[in-house]
C-alpha cells in the first residue's frame, strides 16, 4: 500500500454540534499528514456526499469516509467496509450514502477502490457550533486509531503514537 493514494473524506454539518465530527477528523488528518510529509494522503470534506464524489473517489486506491453516528450501541467508533449495493435505492439525494457513491464509481468509472467508513459516536445535534466533550473524546480515540491504521497501510512508522495491537 506504500505508494497507493488515500482519500480521507469527512462529511456533516459543523453547525449542528456533533455532526461536525467527520469534518473535524479531516482537519486533524490534514495537519498530521502534512507534518509527516505523507503526500499519498489527501483529505476532502462537505456537508454531505454528492453524486460527483463518485468521480473523485475513482482516483484513489483507498477511501475512508468519516461521519458522525447516532447509533446508541456504538461505544466510541467503528471502521466498516463499504459494500456497494446495486439493490439499494436511496431515499433522498440529500443524503447520498457511501455505498451509493461506491456503486456509482464502479458503474460509471470502472474503478473499485478499497472503501471504508469510520463512524464516530456523537450525542447532540442541535444548531450550535462545537463538539460535545464526549464526542471530542471519541474523536481523539478515533484519530489515534486512524493514524495507526494509515501507518500500517502505508508501511510507515512514527514515534509518539501508541497503537493497540488489534488496530494494526
Amino acid at each position: 500500500m506504500k505508494d497507493k493514494k488515500v482519500l480521507i473524506y469527512g462529511y456533516g454539518n459543523p453547525g449542528r454540534r456533533d455532526d461536525g465530527l467527520g469534518i473535524k477528523m479531516t482537519e486533524l488528518i490534514a495537519h498530521w499528514s502534512e507534518a509527516h510529509h505523507l503526500e499519498q494522503i489527501e483529505v476532502d470534506s462537505n456537508y454531505q456526499l454528492n453524486i460527483e464524489d463518485a468521480e473523485k473517489v475513482a482516483g484513489y486506491d483507498l477511501v475512508i469516509f468519516v461521519d458522525a453516528s447516532q447509533e446508541t450501541d456504538l461505544t466510541n467508533f467503528k471502521l466498516s467496509d463499504v459494500v456497494p449495493d446495486d439493490k439499494k435505492v436511496e431515499f433522498t439525494m440529500h443524503a447520498v450514502s457511501p455505498a451509493y457513491i461506491v456503486h456509482l464509481t464502479e458503474k460509471l468509472f470502472n474503478k473499485k477502490p478499497e472503501t471504508k467508513i469510520l463512524s464516530i459516536r456523537g450525542y447532540r445535534w442541535e444548531f450550535e457550533e462545537g463538539l460535545t466533550d464526549s464526542a471530542l473524546l471519541n474523536l481523539e480515540r478515533a484519530f489515534i486509531f486512524l493514524q495507526c491504521k494509515l501507518m500500517n497501510w502505508l508501511d510507515v512508522k512514527f514515534k509518539g503514537i501508541k497503537c493497540q495491537e488489534e488496530w494494526t
Binding site: 462537505n46 473523485k56 446495486d86 436511496e90 433522498t92 458503474k107 444548531f127
Partner: protein, 484 residues
C-alpha cells in the same frame, strides 16, 4: 370504509415529506395534502448573533442550497452596512457574487434533472422502484449519467473558487466580497481540459435540452396534461424585464399574463406578501395580500421565472425561451412538468453567463467592499434554483440580530405543490380498484417537478414525533399512530 393512503417518505426530493390522500367509500379522492414533517428553528437561532455572522450561519440551513442563503443574507446586510441594495457594490464584488450564484444554480438544476427526474423520463412513471434511480440511468444511458456528474462537479468548482470553500464558504460579506477570482482560477474554469471547461458546459446544456424535447415530443399528451392548472407566477426580474436571478424588482403575473405585482422594490415585500399558517403543516402558505388567500397564491421557480420575464439576455437560452413561449402562444405556462423544460433553459442560460463572466477582467479587480451609513434593517431577495428566496433582518444598536424572517423558495411553492398533488391523485387514483406503486410514484413525480427542498422550508423548535391520523369523510378521527 374511507381509506387514507400515505406516501412516506417522498423519494428523490431533498429532505423529508409525507403525502396524505383521503378516499371516500367509492374510492374517489376527497382530499390530499403534502405535509412537511421536518422543521427548523433557524429564525430564532440567529437572533442575538452579530449581524456579520449571518452569511455564514445561514448556510447551515441546508446542505443543498447553502450558497443561495449565503448570498440572500449578504444582500440584506449590504443594506444594513449602507452599501445599498443591488447596484451599490463594486463591479468586481457583484460579478464574483454573480459567478458564485450562477455556479450553484447550474449545479443544483443539473442534480435535479439528471439524477432526480431523469429516471422518470428514461423508464416512465410506471417503472419498478428499483429502476427509479441514477444507477439504473447509468446502466441504460451511461453518457447521461456521466454528463450529470461532471456538470455538477464543474458547478461545485465554481462555488469553491468564489466562496472560498465548499462548507461554510465566506466569499460574500456585508458590502461586497472578500476575494476576487485569480487568473489561475479563471483559466482552470474557462479553459480546463475536457470536459471541465465553459464551452463543454454550454454544449452539454444544449444536449440536455434536446433530450427533454425529444421526450416531450414522444409523450406530449402526458407531459402537457400532468398536474396542469392555471396560477399566478412570481419572480424577480431586471428593471428592463430581463431574466435575472441575482437582483431585480419583484414582479408577479396572473394566469393570463397580466401584471399583478408591478416591478416593486423587494425591500417592501411585507407590504405585498402575507404568510398563512395552516394547522396541518409546519410549512406556511404565502400569498399576495391584495388578492387574498384563495386567489393570491403563486408559483415560483423555473416555470414562474420564464412566465414572468420578458426575455433572456443570452443568445442560446433566448432562442429556447422563444420556443418555450410560443408553445403556449405567449401566455403563461401552467403545466407542472414543463418545470423541467424551463429548468433546462435556465441550465443553458447559466452556462452562457458563466462563460461570459469568466471572460470578464473585472473578476480580477481589487476593489471589493463598499460601506456607507449604517441602517437597522435590510431585506435581501434572490432567485434560488427553486424560486424566490427572502431574507429579512433587523439589527440593534449593539450590532446583534434582533429579528429574522425567511421565506424560502419551497415555502412559496407550498400551495402549488398541494394543488399538483391533488390534481394527480384525482387523475390516477379516482375509482381505481387497486392503488399501485406507479400511481403513488405519479404523485411524487408531481412534487418532484417543483424540486422542493423540504429541509429548509419549515421553522419551529423542539421535538416532534411522526404522527399519522386517519379521518373519515366527516373529519372524525378514527385512527392514530405515533412514531418516535
Amino acid at each position: 370504509m374511507p381509506k387514507k393512503i400515505t406516501i412516506e417518505p417522498v423519494t428523490r426530493v431533498e429532505g423529508h415529506g409525507k403525502v396524505t390522500i383521503m378516499l371516500d367509500d367509492l374510492g374517489k379522492v376527497t382530499q390530499s395534502r403534502l405535509h412537511i414533517v421536518e422543521f427548523r428553528g433557524f429564525e430564532r437561532f440567529v437572533q442575538g448573533r452579530p449581524y456579520w455572522e449571518a452569511p455564514v450561519l445561514v448556510q447551515r440551513l441546508c446542505g443543498i442550497c447553502p450558497v443561495s442563503h449565503h448570498l440572500a443574507a449578504a444582500k440584506a446586510l449590504d443594506v444594513i452596512v449602507g452599501a445599498g441594495t443591488g447596484k451599490g457594490l463594486t463591479a468586481t464584488a457583484e460579478k464574483v457574487r454573480r459567478l458564485m450564484h450562477y455556479g450553484q444554480f447550474f449545479q443544483s438544476h443539473v442534480l435535479h434533472f439528471f439524477h432526480l427526474s431523469s429516471p422518470d423520463f428514461l423508464f416512465g412513471i410506471d417503472a419498478a422502484p428499483e429502476l427509479r434511480n441514477i444507477i439504473a440511468v447509468a446502466q441504460e444511458n451511461r453518457d447521461l449519467a456521466y454528463q450529470g456528474i461532471m456538470m455538477r462537479k464543474y458547478g461545485q468548482e465554481i462555488i469553491a473558487a468564489t466562496a472560498g470553500k465548499k462548507v461554510h464558504g465566506t466569499g460574500a460579506i456585508p458590502g461586497g466580497v472578500n476575494k476576487n477570482l485569480s487568473t489561475e482560477e479563471r483559466d482552470v474554469l474557462l479553459k480546463g481540459a475536457d470536459p471541465l471547461n465553459a464551452d463543454k458546459m454550454v454544449e452539454w446544456s444544449v444536449s440536455a435540452l434536446e433530450f427533454f424535447k425529444h421526450y416531450h415530443k414522444n409523450n406530449r399528451d402526458m407531459v402537457d396534461n400532468f398536474a396542469s392548472f392555471p396560477s399566478n407566477h412570481m419572480s424577480i426580474v431586471r428593471e428592463d424585464g430581463a431574466f435575472d436571478i441575482y437582483h431585480g424588482v419583484l414582479r408577479a403575473v396572473d394566469h393570463e399574463g397580466r401584471k399583478i405585482l408591478n416591478d416593486v422594490d423587494y425591500q417592501y415585500y411585507n407590504d405585498y406578501i402575507e404568510e398563512e399558517v395552516r394547522t396541518w403543516s409546519y410549512m406556511k402558505f404565502p400569498y399576495l395580500k391584495e388578492y387574498g388567500k384563495e386567489k393570491g397564491w403563486y408559483r415560483v421557480g423555473p416555470l414562474a421565472r420564464l412566465n414572468v420575464c420578458d426575455f433572456i439576455p443570452t443568445p442560446l437560452a433566448q432562442k429556447e425561451f422563444e420556443e418555450f413561449k410560443a408553445y403556449t402562444k405567449g401566455k403563461p405556462n401552467g403545466m407542472s412538468l414543463h418545470y423541467h423544460w424551463a429548468r433546462l433553459i435556465e441550465v443553458l442560460h447559466s452556462a452562457e453567463v458563466i462563460r461570459d463572466l469568466l471572460n470578464d477582467d473585472e473578476l480580477q479587480g481589487k476593489d471589493l467592499v463598499v460601506k456607507g451609513t449604517r441602517q437597522n434593517e435590510g431585506v435581501g431577495v434572490i432567485e434560488a434554483p427553486r424560486g424566490t428566496l427572502f431574507h429579512h433582518y433587523k439589527v440593534d444598536d449593539n450590532d446583534l440580530i434582533s429579528m429574522a424572517n425567511l421565506i424560502v423558495s419551497t415555502t412559496n411553492n407550498n400551495e402549488p405543490m398541494n394543488r399538483a398533488v391533488n390534481s394527480t391523485a384525482k387523475a390516477f387514483m379516482n375509482g381505481q380498484p387497486q392503488i399501485t406503486e406507479p400511481m403513488m410514484n405519479a404523485v411524487e413525480v408531481a412534487i418532484r417537478a417543483y424540486d422542493p427542498c423540504l429541509s429548509c422550508a419549515t421553522h419551529a423548535l423542539g421535538q416532534m414525533p411522526l404522527e399519522i391520523k386517519l379521518y373519515n369523510e366527516k373529519e372524525e378521527l378514527i385512527d392514530k399512530k405515533i412514531k418516535g
